[in-house]
Symmetry: C3
Subunit: 356 residues, 3 copies
C-alpha cells in the first residue's frame, strides 16, 4: 500500500451521509466535507438543503445566520439564499445581480439519513442512494445513532471495518475474545457491483452475552457476520444468530437475533473524517433496555478503533511516502481498496474526457 | 472586493493605538503589531517607550526582563536597553559594541492613549495624532476602556464599523431593533482629508432606553449617529440626542445626550488584530452607574461583531482569492476602503521612489 | 552566532539519554527523538529495546500495543517485533517476508539511564557512554530524577547550563543572589576531549542555606561549581563546599558537601527537546528530607530556565536568520558550541566520504 492508498483521494460523484437529521434539530447545521464548509438547513417547506457556508457578499459564515421564510439569511448583512444557492434578497436594493450565487449541493433526506452529493449536481441520481429500510420502523428495528470525529482519512476506517483480524487486538478488552479465533475463522469475500462483501460463519457456537440479553436461546447457535462495503463511504453490517438446526446457512432471514449496523464515513479533510453510525436490533423490541444495552456495548468499541486510527494517521503523516506491507489477513480490505481505486480511476478518466 | 481588499496590507507610516496606559500598569507590556513582537515599557523618568521584544544577544524576550533605572533589562543575561533601543549596559564588559542595538518605535502617550509609529522613525510627526479631548476629563466625559482580540484583518473591523446595515442582523438580540430601519435610514457619507465620515439622523424619534437611564427626556428627540474613519485604524463615533425643537441638525453641540466612542483597531498579523475601544458619555456624570450601564450594554454588542468576523476571516482564509460581491449598503465602507487604498498606494509609491 | 548555531542540527552518531527507566515502568514508553517517534520496551528477558513506533503493516503506533513473550505486539493486527525491529509473527500466516522489518536503535541501560544511539547501529560503541557512577548507590548518593519538556533547540539548554551569568537574572528570586557577583567571579574554562569544562571557586564564603540543611558547617567554606559539557547533550555538574582550611582547591574529593547533577538534553525536533535531569547529594544521607529539600529547591529553578528559553526560541523562530551578538560572558558556552560544531563537521565529512 503506497501513500495514495493510505490517504485515499476524494471521490466526488457520489452520495455521502452528510448528517443525521437529529444533528439538524435546530434547522441549521454546519459540517466541513472534502475541505468545503457546508451549511445544512431545513427550509420553511421542511426540505433539507445544503449550500456553501460562506456568503458571497463579505465571506461571513452562513451558519452564523438563521432560516427564514424565504431561505437561509446571512447573519451579517441579511442576504438570503435559497436551497439552490441563489440569492433571493439583498436588504436595501431591489435588483439582485446574477453573480449573487453560492454553491449548492443536492440533498436527499430518506430513511433517517441526510444524503449529500458532492459532485456535479447534474449527475446526482437518487436511485443510487443505498436502501436502508431498517431505519423505517423503530418498532421492528429499534436503533440508535451517533457521530464520532476521526483524525484519519476516510478509507482508513473502511479498512478497519472490512477487517476482522483487528477484533482480537484492538478490542481485546471488550468484544475481542481470543485473537486467533478471528484470524483463523473461515471467511468468504466476494466482489459486488458497488464494492465487496465479507461473510463469516461460526456454526454450533455458544451465543454471546449481548444476544442473550434479548433472546433466551435454548442452546447453541449458528452465528454470522456480514460486512458489505458500498462505495465510497458506507459499510453495511448484518450480524446475527439462529438456533442450531433452523438452517441458518440456507436462510438467515428468519426469526432470530439480527443486528443491523450502518457505518458511514464522510471525509472532512484528507486526514480527518466523520464517522456516523447507527446500531439497530430486531429482537427484544418490547424492552427499550435491549437496544440501549447493545448501543452502550458498541460505542466504546468504536472509540477503541478511533484511538488506534488517530495515531496511525499521525504516523503516516510523518512520512506519507514510506511503504507499508500487505499481509494475508488484509484480503477483504484490499478488495474494498481495489473497488475504490477502480471507481476513482473511472471518475478521473471521465473528468479528463469531459475536459477534452 | 478582491483578496487584496479583504485582507488589507499594513500601512507603515502611521500612528496606531499600541496599548492603553492601563495595560502598562506594571511598567512592562508586550504586544505583537504587524507581526513584530514589541515591548512597551515606562522608564524611570515616566516616559513610555517601545522596542523590539528580542534581545540582540541571544534572542530572549525582553518582556521576560524588568525595568531598571537605566532602561529595560533583559531577564536572561542582564543587558540593558534604553528607549531608543541602544544597549547601555552589558554585564561583565565595559565596551558596548555599536551593533548592540535593537529596533525602537516612536511612542507618544497622550489623552489616555499610547500611540506607536510603525514606520520610519524619521517621519514620525506627532501633529498627525488624532485629538480625542474627551478623554482629558473624566468628570465631563466619564469613560471606560477595553481590549478585544480579533482573529481577523484590521480592515475587516473598519468595514464593520462603517456599516450600519449589520446592526439589524448581528445585533438583533441586543441593540438591533428592526433590520430594515437600518437599511432604509437616510445616511450621508462624505470623504474627509484622512478618511471618510457617515452621519445618520433619526428625527422626531423615541429616545432609546439606554439614553433614558441618564437623562429624563420630556418626549421625542432628534437622534444622530456619526462614524468617522481616520486612517489607518481608527473610527470616531459620536452618537446622541436632543429634545425635538432644540435645532439638533443645526447645532448638535449643545447640552443633551452625547456618546463618544473611540474604536482603534491595531493589526497583529495579516489576519488578527486588537480592538481597543473606549466608551464615554457626557451625561449622568453624577451617577457612576450611568457610564457603567452604557459600557455594560456596549461590550456584549462588540463581542457579537467579533464572533461574526472571526468566522468570516476563517472562510476567507480558506480561499483568499475567491471573489466577493458588492451591495448598495456597502457605500460607507467602500469609501473607507478607497481612502485606505489611496493611502497605501501613496506609501508604496513613496517607498519605490526612495529606493530609486 | 548565526541561525545555524542558534538552532543546532542533530548529531546522529552519539548516545543520548532516551528515557529514565522510571518512565518505562509499564514496560512500554513512547518518545520522539530527532523527529522520529520511538517505542521503548522492556522485553520478556528484561532487556530494554527501542524500535520505530510505527508498524510496517498499516502504520499503527506500536506504543498502542503491548509487550508479549516474543516481543512488542502491534495493537491493531497483532504483528510482533523483536528488539532488532524484525517481525517475528504475523497472525494468519506462516511466512514472514523479509521486508517486515522496522528501524531499531541500539539501547544500553546502565547506571539508571536508558541510553539510545541515534546513528548507524554498526558504529554504536558502548565504551563511549558517560560513566555516572553516582547513580549506582542511593545510600552514598541519594538522588531524584525528573523530566521537563522544552520548546527550544537542545543546544539552547546547553548554552544555558554552560553560562553562570544568567543566574543573577533568571534566578534572581530563587538562587541568584547578587547578579554582578556571578559576572565577576573568576572562572576557568578548559577544552576537554569530548567538550569543555568550566570551574568557578568562591573561597572563604558563607555556606548557602541549602547546604546548611544537611551539614552544620562550623564557619566559612571554600565553594566550587563545575560544569562539564560532554557531547552532544550532557552537562555534568559538581558543586560543593569544604570547610576553609581543608585544602579544597588541592583536593575537592574529600568529605564535605557534594552535589552531583546530571543534565541530559535530548532533541525532540529542531526546536523542542526533553530535559532529563537527576539531582544527587552526598551528604545528609541519613535524613531523606535532605535530598527531598535539595530537589525541591532545584526543580523550580529549572522551570525558570525553561520559561525563558521557550520565549527565546519563539523569538528566534520568527526570524531565524537574524544575527545575534556575542558578549564576553559567553566564553564557556562558545567553547561548548565550538566543540559541538567541530563534532558535527567531522560527522558530516565522514558521511560525505562514506557516500563517495
Amino acid at each position: 500500500m503506497t501513500r495514495e492508498s493510505a490517504n485515499a483521494p476524494f471521490l466526488r460523484n457520489a452520495w455521502y451521509v452528510g448528517a443525521w437529521p437529529e444533528e439538524l434539530a435546530s434547522g441549521l447545521f454546519g459540517r466541513t466535507i472534502m475541505n468545503e464548509p457546508i451549511a445544512f438547513f431545513r427550509d420553511a417547506g421542511g426540505q433539507v438543503n445544503a449550500v456553501e457556508d460562506r456568503c458571497c457578499h463579505r465571506g461571513a459564515a452562513l451558519t452564523d445566520g438563521k432560516v427564514i421564510e424565504t431561505g437561509l439569511q446571512c447573519g451579517y448583512h441579511g442576504l438570503v439564499f435559497n436551497g439552490k444557492g441563489k440569492c433571493v434578497e439583498i436588504p436595501g436594493q431591489d435588483a439582485i445581480p446574477p453573480m449573487a450565487q453560492i454553491k449548492y449541493y443536492p440533498v436527499v433526506e430518506r430513511q433517517g439519513f441526510i444524503w449529500i452529493w458532492m459532485g456535479d449536481p447534474a449527475r446526482a441520481d437518487e436511485s443510487q442512494i443505498i436502501d436502508w429500510k431498517f431505519h423505517d420502523d423503530q418498532k421492528v428495528y429499534p436503533h440508535r445513532k451517533a457521530v464520532l470525529p476521526i483524525k484519519a482519512n476516510y478509507l482508513m476506517m473502511i479498512d478497519n471495518l472490512m477487517d476482522l483480524t483487528h477484533l482480537g487486538y484492538v478490542h481485546s478488552k471488550t468484544i475481542g475474545g481470543n485473537p486467533l479465533s478471528h484470524v483463523s475463522a473461515k471467511m468468504d469475500v466476494t466482489r459486488t457491483e458497488h464494492g465487496c462483501k465479507l461473510v463469516r460463519w461460526m456454526l454450533d457456537a455458544l451465543p454471546p452475552p449481548t444476544y442473550l440479553k434479548g433472546v433466551p436461546f435454548a442452546g447453541k447457535v449458528d452465528r454470522w457476520q456480514e460486512f458489505e462495503y458500498v462505495l465510497p463511504g458506507s459499510v453495511l453490517q448484518w450480524s446475527g444468530a439462529l438456533d442450531v438446526g433452523k438452517g441458518a446457512q440456507q436462510n438467515r432471514d428468519q426469526h432470530g437475533v439480527h443486528l443491523r449496523l450502518y457505518h458511514a464515513i464522510t471525509p472532512e479533510t484528507e486526514n480527518s473524517s466523520h464517522y456516523l453510525f447507527s446500531v439497530g436490533a430486531s429482537f427484544g423490541q418490547d424492552d427499550p433496555a435491549v437496544i440501549e444495552t447493545i448501543f452502550n456495548d458498541t460505542y466504546p468499541t468504536f472509540i477503541e478503533d478511533v484511538e488506534i486510527m488517530n495515531n496511525q494517521q499521525a504516523r503516516i503523516d510523518l512520512d506519507p511516502g514510506k511503504p507499508l506491507i500487505n499481509i494475508k489477513a488484509d484480503n477483504a480490505l484490499h478488495h474494498a481498496r481495489r473497488a475504490f481505486n477502480a471507481a476513482y480511476e473511472a471518475e478521473q478518466q471521465a473528468m479528463r474526457q469531459a475536459a477534452e
